[in-house]
């Protein structure tokens, strides 16, 4: 899926330059916890998040994220946008909720690369085991 399609699907605005709209992503990951992004995201992914601080850009840089989408109408400050431009990471912003944004992309065929995290740290909570 290329960035131009994603922009349309999410009715999003581009916060960085528009030159990268032909770029493609293969999968998606969504989280507000940057620790989770660093642990579980995969390459050639986009990141959907409600967090707009400068650490999001740093995290995306380290995890080699191809595109960041801010949801819920949130906008990062200029310093954050400038760092993204410097690191060549495109930023989109949409008024959609995180659920709606994920749902629309999923509907159009985008998936996450890993479906089941076998080593869930909280697995025992889920099964109710004591």
């Amino acid at each position: 899926m290329n960035l131009g399609e994603i922009l349309n699907i999410l009715d999003a605005d581009i916060l960085t330059c528009a030159s990268s709209l032909q770029k493609t992503v293969e999968s998606a990951y969504c989280a507000d916890l940057m620790s989770d992004v660093l642990s579980f995201s995969t390459t050639k992914s986009l990141l959907i998040t409600g967090l707009t601080n400068v650490q999001v850009i740093r995290t995306a840089e380290m995890a080699a994220i191809e595109l960041i989408i801010f949801v819920q109408g949130k906008r990062p400050d200029l310093r954050t946008i400038n760092l993204a431009i410097e690191k060549n990471i495109p930023l989109f912003a949409t008024g959609l909720s995180m659920f709606e944004a994920c749902g629309r992309l999923y509907e159009r065929g985008l998936r996450s690369q890993v479906h089941i995290y076998s080593q869930s740290p909280f697995g025992s909570c889920r099964t109710g085991a004591s």
Partner: protein, 151 residues
């Protein structure tokens, strides 16, 4: 080149200084290290693993310590990174290595960090990891990533 394979040829080494609670520049050292690895033409997946491990370690210093250093050494066979800090130290390293265990304050969690995945994630992305800590003095962490690893 004589003894290649036996003697590690150092391609580049250096040090970055880290300041505790300086969240504005948090990640700058890891970003620079990533840039150096890119310039040296290191494989992308190895760069990603190194950048993630270095960033997690750097964030630990920024969050918990007063100050610290990140020393790196890149040879023709491996990348080694040593991070030492002047901080509280880690009383129980085994516990700190447990996924989900965290002592991070709320403002750190609001920034998206401190969910207790840092040390486990460093271990996941590196080929070897050692952590030494003295409570009240600080922590030294060293990790190595092999350059010739199979994907």
């Amino acid at each position: 080149m004589p003894h290649r394979g036996l003697v590690k040829v150092c391609l580049e080494e250096g040090v970055f200084f880290l300041t505790g609670k300086d969240f504005t520049n948090a990640g700058a050292a890891s970003s620079s290290l990533k840039g150096i690895l890119e310039r040296l033409g290191v494989r992308k997946d190895i760069i990603r693993r190194t950048a993630i491990a270095a960033f997690e370690a750097e964030m630990n210093v920024i969050i918990y310590a007063v100050a610290g250093m990140m020393k790196y050494r890149i040879t023709d066979t491996e990348i080694s990174v040593i991070i030492n800090d002047m901080g509280h130290g880690i009383p129980n390293i085994e516990l700190a290595m447990t996924e989900g265990y965290s002592t991070a304050p709320d403002y750190v969690r609001e920034m998206g960090f401190g969910s207790g995945m840092g040390l486990p994630n460093i271990r996941k992305n590196t080929d070897s990891l050692t952590v030494d800590s003295v409570v009240g003095e600080g922590t030294t962490m060293e990790f190595v990533i092999q350059l010739n690893a199979v994907n």
